[in-house]
């Protein structure tokens, strides 16, 4: 099998001696070594007994990912996850930023939310200005890996 399953970013080999049954669509009961697990598989997350895990599958026939892979190509685009209003811009084009650093603050659903850089890099572009309304998916900023 050329399929590889990554859970929380690491390759994982599933046990071969477990009992698995799908109870509801996407909900599995797994018994392994006497222990009972309840697993919820959704589009963007797997939950095992309350532990949320991200996943990726690489497959000759399929490519599914849940974890944001921003940065793997040397570039991260920060987009608005929903319609809102830009209330503050925390950096500027040309500035060096680190992963986790706030880039833009968007107000949506009555709350102010800081969007962060997923990578270490340089701000290539700030695509919005303060007080601008933005649609879901609108590009707010682009960061490039330095060097």
């Amino acid at each position: 099998m050329s399929r590889s399953t990554r859970i929380n970013g690491s390759p994982v080999v599933p046990p071969s001696d477990a009992s698995l049954v799908e109870c509801e669509p996407g909900v599995y009961s797994i018994l392994h070594a006497g222990t009972s697990f309840e697993v919820y598989v959704t589009e963007n997350c797997i939950e095992v007994d309350g532990h949320p895990l991200s996943y990726e599958i690489k497959d000759p026939r399929q490519w599914t990912r849940s974890a944001g892979l921003a940065g793997v190509l040397g570039k991260a685009t920060i987009t608005a996850p929903m319609p809102g209003k830009v209330v503050r811009i925390l950096t500027a084009a040309g500035h060096v930023v680190t992963a986790g650093q706030g880039i833009v603050v968007v107000e949506a659903m009555k709350m102010q939310n800081e969007l962060k850089s997923p990578i270490d890099g340089v701000v290539v572009k700030i695509a919005v200005s303060e007080n601008e309304g933005v649609a879901a998916g609108a590009v707010l900023a682009v960061i490039e890996v330095a060097g």
Partner: protein, 499 residues
């Protein structure tokens, strides 16, 4: 004055459904209202009747007084329950109901007006004999004047928007040299949010707890308190976990009675009837200061219901219909401990960014001691137009320790798929030794999040392989579906050859 026959609920989400439930139990009829975004909302499904208000923005729907009154008239509703938020503390709305001959289930517009402004409320409470935090009695818009006053009070101080709420226009100031710039930013934020830039200044009580007292009054002059709620676990001044009783009460015998008495006095000074909440800051040493009054049913009212055994919504409706309170202060007793978690569609791993969208799967907790007040269902799309609260999970147990254990059990049973939620935040907090010890203050959670920004604990080593097993099974099942679309196969094959 008589018990209403048909009640319009001028709200949405879990609180609309919670009110509908009691209305049904009382044998009365309920009228839901909804915006475009909420046509399929749970409160619309569960009400007896429903009225469309308008477009999704609140100003076109849940905040639109003429539309709501028109809906009430069209449906012959003789009373309106405002829930919390939206128009619940809007004196003009209460007055408009009074003028229209529709019973407003809440205090009088006059009481709302008196207690709605923080500075006015401070004056009323002070006149009633409640202790207040040293600070200004009037809103201020001039930074220089603010500086003089703050120097007089002594640092640290809090700046708060007079018209404020939800943490907007609030700033902590630790040093005199920071005052002017922080005042300006608070004032401009307040102006933006509430069209009123005036700010009042209070002494900051360090490590203060947020402890509030539920009060209840009828139209015949009877006023009682129903014990307290501790709401110190806040993120950015927004309550996250509430509980009753407050752990502080066991440490200070008589404190509940003293705070309850102060709350009743403040309410009496405002001529208050129906449900209300008097918020206090309290120190670990048992001192307390009037903070503000909420002239409505509170989000966290269920914890009071669970320890007192009362249905506050039923009581609101009865009292609004002219009934006398069916009990005296001495009849009220608290049993056990109740805790509430506010479940939000937000992503704790991404600065708590709201996460509206479609709930693709849902498993809800139940069993002993678990109450779920929810406004969502599997398949529901959480709209981005409103507050992202999904539900309130509330537990009761004989002791606080048992209630914490029960909440952890209930959280483990709660699965919400398709959107991000803050369920993991509660797992973090409830595990904290300091929370379990009841050592709380309003900065508690912000401090905790600073020390544990990546609080999702790594799963035990045996968990990822189990996840992989379920994932492979899921993908195996999805494969045949893909097979039905030959072009997808071809595309995949091509992609493979290109590698």
């Amino acid at each position: 004055m008589a018990l209403p026959r048909k009640i319009l609920i001028a709200n949405r989400g879990e609180i609309a459904l919670r009110v509908i439930r009691t209305v049904r139990e009382m044998g009365l009829r309920s009228v839901a209202v909804y915006s475009d975004a909420d046509r399929a909302a749970l409160h619309v499904r569960k009400a007896d009747e429903a009225a469309h208000l308008g477009a999704s923005p609140s100003s076109e729907s849940y905040l639109n007084i003429p539309k709501i009154l028109a809906a009430a008239r069209h449906h012959n509703a003789d009373a309106i329950h405002p829930g919390y938020g939206f128009l619940s503390e809007n004196a003009a709305f209460a007055a408009a109901c009074e003028d229209a001959g529709i019973t407003f289930i809440g205090p009088s517009s006059k009481s709302i007006g008196l207690m709605g402004s923080k500075t006015s409320a401070r004056r009323v409470a002070k006149a009633g004999g409640a202790p207040i935090v040293p600070g200004t009695e009037e809103g201020i818009t001039d930074a220089a004047e603010a500086e003089t006053i703050a120097n007089g009070i002594g640092y640290p101080v809090m700046l708060k928007a007079v018209a404020g709420g939800g943490g907007k226009g609030m700033r902590r100031v630790d040093r005199a040299e920071d005052l002017r710039s922080l005042f300006d930013s608070a004032s401009s934020e307040a102006l933006r949010s509430f069209s009123d830039g005036s700010i009042y200044i209070e002494k900051l009580i360090e490590n203060a707890r947020h402890v509030e007292v539920q009060i209840f009054g009828d139209h015949h002059g009877n006023l009682v308190h129903l014990g307290e709620r501790e709401c110190s676990v806040q993120r950015r001044h927004q309550k996250v976990i509430e509980e009753s009783p407050s752990p502080l009460m066991a440490r200070h015998p008589g404190l509940r009675e003293r705070m309850g008495d102060a709350a009743v006095k403040a309410a009496r000074a405002a001529g208050y009837f129906n449900a209300g909440t008097v918020e206090f800051l309290a120190s670990d040493s048992g001192d307390f200061y009037f903070l503000e009054m909420n002239t409505r049913l509170q989000v966290e009212h269920p914890v009071t219901e669970l320890v007192t055994g009362l249905d506050l919504v039923r009581l609101q409706i009865e009292v609004a219909g002219g009934a006398k309170l069916p009990f005296a202060q001495s009849d009220i007793s608290l049993r056990g401990a109740a805790i509430e978690c506010r479940i939000y569609a937000e992503d704790p791993a991404n600065s708590f960014f709201p996460s509206p969208g479609r709930i693709t799967s849902l498993a809800e907790p139940s069993g002993p001691g678990v109450r779920l007040d929810s406004g969502v269902y599997p398949g529901w799309t959480v709209p981005l137009d409103y507050d992202p609260m999904l539900s309130k999970l509330i537990v009761w147990a004989a002791t606080r320790d048992q209630a914490i254990a029960r909440m952890q059990r209930a959280l483990a049973e709660y699965h919400i798929g398709g959107i991000r939620t803050n369920l993991s935040l509660f797992r973090l907090i409830l595990n904290e030794p300091s929370f379990r010890a009841g050592d709380l203050h309003t900065g508690y959670l912000d401090t905790l999040l600073k020390t544990q920004p990546e609080f999702q604990p790594a799963p035990p080593a045996h968990v990822p392989p189990i996840a992989a097993l379920a994932l492979n099974q899921q993908k195996k099942q999805e494969a045949p579906a893909a097979a039905a679309v030959p072009s997808a196969w071809l595309a995949a094959g091509r992609a493979e050859q290109l590698r």
